[in-house]
């Protein structure tokens, strides 16, 4: 599934093959040969030790000595094995280096923004930006960089945040409310604001972001640790298998050289997944960054694959932010066009989206737009007390507003609201809409039906989530009736009506008590407790500093539907690990069939100097024993770079249900993993044996 959100922009993937990335990665691949680096990866550490031993053996042979552990292997054979073992380690390092290289390139761009700026304090003194600490108050005029993360405490300004979000249109930041947070490194483009710094020196959002994309703060996630333990256990088993093969061979009159045993060991231990494991983790983080999401820990990315319940705010996520006029309902005896005209006139000065939508709807009734200046109209703005707005034209009072407010007004004017009005108000309310009554002097003309408009494609998306095993819960401040209506229409699984921050928090806790993992998005300060409680809390970048600190991810696009993509990235991460582990282990079957008949080529031959009965197991028909072993080792090494693109891209996730997905991946990576090396080793053998004459 590819859930491309409307409006979600993907940062351009930095190509793997940019020149500087390649050079840096190649260099790093060799730098990482340092055993102090390798020891963190038990599988590759074993390979490196094997490389050292075979290299020493070759050197001994090159100077005319006998190979370690006896045997009659020629020096060139030892050399070729040693070479490919080193390459195996280098390829593994390369995978990690490429993954890091991509992140580093992104970090470079960010770092250019962390230029040393001088902050102007409220008292007029100046201070270096890097010395700002929590509680400092700075003043930033138009055209200057904001010196650090903070909250606007005074003023309103437009801020260009393109440096971190990639979005070129400036955004408004103002004191109070949910749009008060500013990020260091962004630029004020108009007005001037006072900012209270909320970060400690060196721990700004930008610093964290750089560290994250660079992988500098990367720690192994719990699942990665568990998998590493499994790989170490497999490595241990194979070490015993190979170590005992030597006495077994001697019993059968077949001494096996150290070099061949090491080659067998390296072929058997799960080098493929061992080499790619950390690259997979780094790439997962990188995929989120490209979707403009910053995960503050690898753990959060993993948890996002496990999400069981998704809390979605109704407004802005399921419905487009505002209610729109969808119908004029005239009272008996009132022509519809008359209602439409009055509704339009009363809304001309109403700049709210609702007001504008009334004008748009009226157009469909053939009502021309009036020229405001020729009307001699007095506009009556909406107030919380009157709960209506309108216009006085030619002495007539046109009003629209809440049903009861209009009824009161009309009654005061001496009119009688028709009984039909009450019926319509109730009906629209029940249907989840908002009714606005329209009056002219003492006469009620009708009702405007304002409707919540559900975003396109939501029900498809909820179906997909359901197929992923994720339950969606709509959170709204609406009453139960309205909420139920919208929930039914959008296809969301459940809803929480009349939601308060406390109710949200309680819902999350309740789900977690039942063992479910909960994800949510939020932007307001009052969302902060729920964001902190949720297993995956995605804070909108437009949100308050409190929200951004409470969540464990920040969405720079501030797109609440981004959660679905985040879940996908989390799942991909785990699938890629599982698939490559399966592939890696399944590969061993073919390697046995390549190496063992080669090792036991004359073992227990029934005629002196004849072939072993085991020669029939050379099912691939490999050219010679040495070519067989060398080919298996070359395959084992080459498969790592070949799988680097897959591990960086991730195995595709399809919401087809767990069992179908398991069958599919077992078939591709399990069965495929058994078959592929038979073909690969044979092809390499054709070259090694026939072309190189080994």
């Amino acid at each position: 599934m590819s859930v491309q959100m409307p409006g979600a922009r993907e940062r351009k993937a930095i190509s793997l093959f940019q020149r500087d990335i390649v050079w840096r990665a190649l260099l790093d691949s060799f730098k990482k040969l340092d055993p102090r680096v390798q020891i963190h990866n038990p599988v590759m550490f074993v390979v490196e030790i094997g490389s050292v031993i075979t290299t020493v053996t070759w050197l001994i042979q090159a100077f005319g000595g006998r190979p370690l552990g006896g045997g009659s292997e020629p020096a060139w054979y030892t050399f070729v094995i040693a070479l490919w073992l080193w390459l195996t380690v280098v390829f593994a390092n390369m995978a990690e280096a490429f993954a890091e290289g991509r992140g580093r390139a992104q970090a470079e761009t960010l770092r250019t923004m962390r230029k040393e700026t001088v902050a102007t304090m409220r008292d007029g003194s100046t201070k270096a930006a890097s010395e700002l600490t929590r509680g400092d108050i700075v003043i930033v005029p138009a055209g200057e960089l904001i010196p650090g993360d903070g909250t606007v405490i005074e003023g309103i300004a437009t801020v260009d945040e393109s440096a971190i979000t990639g979005e070129s249109a400036p955004v408004i930041r103002e004191s109070g409310g949910d749009r008060s947070a500013v990020t260091g490194g962004t630029r004020v483009t108009s007005d001037r604001i006072e900012i209270e710094i909320t970060q400690e020196p060196g721990k700004s959002f930008l610093d964290r972001m750089i560290a994250l994309v660079e992988g500098a703060e990367r720690r192994k996630t719990p699942n990665e640790i568990a998998l590493n333990i499994l790989l170490a256990a497999l490595t241990l088993i194979f070490m015993i298998v190979v170590a005992t093969l030597r006495p077994f061979g001697l019993f059968a009159g077949t001494p096996i050289s150290e070099t061949t045993l090491i080659a067998l060991l390296v072929a058997l231990i799960p080098t493929t997944i061992g080499a790619l494991l950390s690259a997979i983790g780094i790439a997962g983080m990188d995929r989120l960054v490209r979707r403009n999401v910053l995960a503050l820990s690898g753990r959060a990315v993993e948890a996002s694959g496990d999400i069981d319940v998704l809390l979605l705010d109704k407004t802005g996520t399921i419905t487009i932010g505002n209610r729109l006029a969808s119908e004029f309902v005239p009272m008996p005896g009132v022509p519809e066009s008359e209602l439409a005209e009055v509704a339009q006139l009363s809304s001309l000065a109403d700049e709210t989206p609702e007001g504008r939508s009334i004008v748009v709807l009226a157009k469909q009734y053939g009502i021309r737009e009036h020229d405001m200046s020729t009307l001699h109209a007095d506009f009556v703005p909406f107030t919380a007390q009157t709960r209506m707005s309108g216009v006085d034209v030619d002495g007539r009072r046109l009003r629209k507003g809440a049903g009861d407010a209009i009824i009161e007004l009309v009654s005061r004017e001496g009119g009688t609201p028709p009984p039909e009005l009450q019926a319509q108000l109730v009906r629209i309310g029940n249907e989840g809409g908002t009714p606005l009554a329209v009056s002219r002097d003492s006469q009620v003309l009708g009702v405007i039906y304002l409707k919540d408009t559900i975003k396109e494609g939501m029900s498809v998306r909820f179906d997909q989530l359901r197929a992923m095993g994720i339950k969606t819960v709509m959170v709204t401040g609406d009453n139960r009736l309205t909420a139920a209506k919208i929930a039914a229409e959008s296809g969301v699984d459940d809803f929480l009506p009349e939601a308060t921050p406390e109710a949200k928090l309680a819902l999350i806790r309740e789900q977690q008590e039942d063992g479910r993992l909960v994800a949510m998005t939020g932007d307001g300060t009052n969302d902060a407790p729920a964001l902190a409680q949720a297993d995956v809390g995605v804070a909108m970048n437009t949100g308050t500093q409190a929200a951004r600190e409470a969540g464990n991810m920040v969405d720079l696009d501030s797109n609440p539907t981004k959660l679905i993509e985040i879940v996908e990235v989390g799942k991909q991460l785990l699938i890629t690990r599982g698939a490559l582990t399966t592939f890696s282990i399944a590969n061993d079957v073919a390697k046995y069939f390549a190496i063992l008949p080669a090792v036991f080529v004359t073992t227990w031959a029934t005629t002196p100097g004849g072939k072993s009965p085991l020669h029939v197991l050379n099912v691939m028909g490999l050219g010679s024993p040495r070519s067989a072993i060398v080919s298996a080792i070359i395959f084992n090494a080459l498969v790592i770079p070949l799988l680097i693109p897959l591990s960086l891209r991730g195995v595709r996730y399809r919401p087809i249900g767990a069992s179908a997905l398991l069958r599919r991946n077992l078939l591709i990576y399990g069965l495929g993993g058994i078959i592929a090396p038979f073909i690969g080793i044979k092809l390499i053998d054709l070259i090694v044996h026939n072309v190189l004459g080994a």
């Binding site: 699942n223 568990a226 499994l230 088993i237 005992t244 095993g469 785990l574 085991l614 996730y653 991946n665």
Partner: protein
């Protein structure tokens, strides 16, 4: 191959399932403390035993406490058995219980035997009828047959409780579980089995050995003894230690084709039933069905291969132009080392039944099997006794494999792997991985020591040359590491010139190495299994959804088979190549 042969195999699978389902349900009730139809009769003895043992059955034990009780109990059993066997001719032993006046076997052989019986292995370097007194057989070996079986079962029960438990740390109470296992499960089944066996001609007496004059005018000594009671628990407890040296080929242990069929059923009854117990205790019987299906498919696979291979005959037979097809009065095939009354199918199936479980009883000579037929028991042992397996051991071992399969499969569906709702993390993977690793590690290292050293090669039979010598050694330690006890005969640790142990001596190397391998490969996995239970119990349970990998459907069964086969094959393939496989590929006789 005959229709009767195939029917034997099919009928066996059907009847086994029909027995295992209700027995599994019954055992689930026993271990969850529900009343069963035997409760009115047995609750008195149960209370009495608790009083004697001075235990409070209501005291809940966490995994460490459970393990501690288990180790203390097994250690005490070990010491007691050692004492009994080493004093079998002491002055206080009544003559009636040692009518032949047998001296004790040497210390090293006794060490091996004691370790063997307390670990449910029943590997025997000794011949029952020339080594053991009736007393040793009855209160020594038979008692351990009961207790070691009980220990295996309670570990499986404790692991299930760990997997299922949602609160606290308790895995139940070791003593209560053990007492219940013996009273409610083993005792009633043993009584039934013994009665059936006696009715078919299995002996049960304390007579001195009979001296019989044969038609050729010679005198033959016929061994007697209290066989039926030991035979019953030998099968039910997947022990496998024969009263007589020839084990289940002996007519007093296994007189007819019917007892052969019946004994096979009794071997698998409890291991198969426990799988259904697991399903019941998890609250989703399909969990049990998936594992049962996994086991049954692998079991039938082994049985079919063994049957076809033995019915087809050996390459040597074909090379010599001998008849191997069915002719009147003969079942055809490779009859070397087989009893006519069991035939090819009855021997091949018995071999599979006793090597997939930790029973290790034999009714035919495994070393006389064809190359491929002989590779089947090797393969069964290489799968680490998880195809039904020993009583309890089979279930707890396969559950560790299930854990690994869930981990790998769970990743592939894109969630942190969950098993019955519990998230699998580093600790569980570490413990399960180590638990699975022990048996192969012990088997391979011991075989390496035995084949590389002169002391080890002493044990190989003089007749064995080439790969046969390797096969014998490898099988010996593979069998002991798996606590199986069957032998690719020939490999010995006991030199006994005449009956009664006078002048006999053990081969210390083989006796001690085997003994330590059995103890290590029995108790280390038990501790890991209990530790896994301890790590899982009380973990928060996530309700299953569409995105959760299911562990109760055929897809999972396939994955599980794949993991078991792959781990077994990758671990043992090189060693198998040098033994049975090379022998199977050549018509040369070794």
């Amino acid at each position: 191959m005959t229709l009767a042969g195939w029917l034997t195999i099919v009928l066996f699978a059907v009847i086994l399932t029909a027995i295992a389902i209700p027995l599994g349900g019954y055992m689930a009730k026993v271990y969850t403390g529900e009343r069963v139809f035997l409760t009115p009769i047995l609750e008195g003895p149960e209370r009495f035993l608790h009083r004697v043992l001075r235990v409070d059955p209501r005291r809940e034990q966490d995994w460490k406490s459970y393990a501690k009780s288990l180790i203390i109990f097994s250690l005490a059993g070990w010491l007691l058995l050692y004492l009994i066997l080493r004093t079998q001719d002491a002055f206080f032993v009544p003559h009636a219980l040692n009518p032949r006046g047998f001296a004790s076997a040497p210390w090293n052989v006794t060490f091996n035997t004691v370790s063997s019986f307390t670990t449910n292995t029943n590997w025997q370097y000794y011949n029952g009828e020339t080594t053991m007194s009736y007393l040793s057989q009855m209160i020594g070996l038979t008692v351990q047959n009961w207790l070691s079986a009980g220990v295996g079962i309670v570990v499986a029960v404790a692991l299930i409780r760990g997997i299922v438990g949602r609160t606290g740390k308790s895995l139940g109470n070791f003593w209560q579980d053990l007492v219940r296992t013996i009273l409610y499960v083993l005792a009633p089944l043993s009584v039934l089995t013994a009665i059936v066996l006696v009715s078919q001609g299995v002996i049960a007496n304390f007579s001195n050995y009979l001296a019989v004059h044969t038609v050729t005018g010679l005198t033959q000594s016929i061994a007697m003894g209290p066989v039926a009671s030991q035979e019953a628990i030998k099968m039910l407890g997947t022990n496998g230690g024969g009263f007589f040296n020839t084990n289940s080929a002996h007519p007093f242990e296994n007189p007819t084709a019917f007892t052969n069929f019946f004994e096979m059923l009794m071997v698998l009854a409890i291991p198969a039933a426990l799988v259904f117990t697991y399903g019941r205790m998890t609250g989703n019987r399909r969990q049990g069905y998936a594992i049962y299906g996994t086991m049954m498919i692998m079991f039938l696979g082994a049985a079919v291969v063994a049957y076809i291979a033995e019915a087809h005959g050996s390459p040597a037979q074909h090379a010599a132009g001998l008849h191997t097809h069915v002719i009147s009065g003969s079942t055809g095939g490779n009859l070397e080392g087989k009893e006519q009354r069991f035939g090819i199918a009855g021997s091949a199936l018995f071999d599979v039944v006793t090597t997939v479980t930790s029973c290790g009883a034999v009714n035919s000579a495994i070393e006389s099997f064809t190359g491929i037929g002989g590779a089947v028991p090797f393969a069964n042992l290489s799968a680490s006794e998880v195809i039904f397996g020993g009583v309890g051991t089979g279930l707890y071992s396969i559950l560790l494999y299930v854990l690994l399969a869930v981990f790998i499969g769970g990743l592939m569906v894109g969630r942190t792997p969950e098993w019955l709702g519990k998230k699998l993390e580093a600790r569980e993977i570490k413990l399960a991985g180590l638990g699975i690793l022990i048996t192969p590690l012990a088997a391979l290292l011991a075989t390496a020591l035995a084949t590389a050293s002169h002391a080890g090669r002493e044990s190989i039979s003089k007749a064995a040359t080439g790969p046969q010598g390797f096969s014998e050694s490898f099988y010996a330690y593979l069998s002991q590491a798996n606590n199986n006890g069957s032998a690719f005969a020939g490999y010995t640790g006991f030199i006994q010139p005449s009956a009664g142990n006078v002048g006999s001596h053990g081969i210390t190397f083989a006796d001690l190495l085997g003994g330590f391998v059995m103890l290590f490969a029995r108790f280390a996995p038990i501790l890991f299994a209990l530790a896994v239970a301890g790590a899982l119990v009380g973990k928060r349970v996530t309700p299953a959804g569409l995105g959760t990998m299911r562990t109760d459907n055929p897809t999972f069964a396939v994955l599980l088979i794949g993991v078991i086969v792959l781990v077994g094959a990758l671990t043992f393939f090189p060693a198998l190549l040098l033994g049975p496989i090379v022998q199977g590929l050549t018509s040369h006789l070794y």
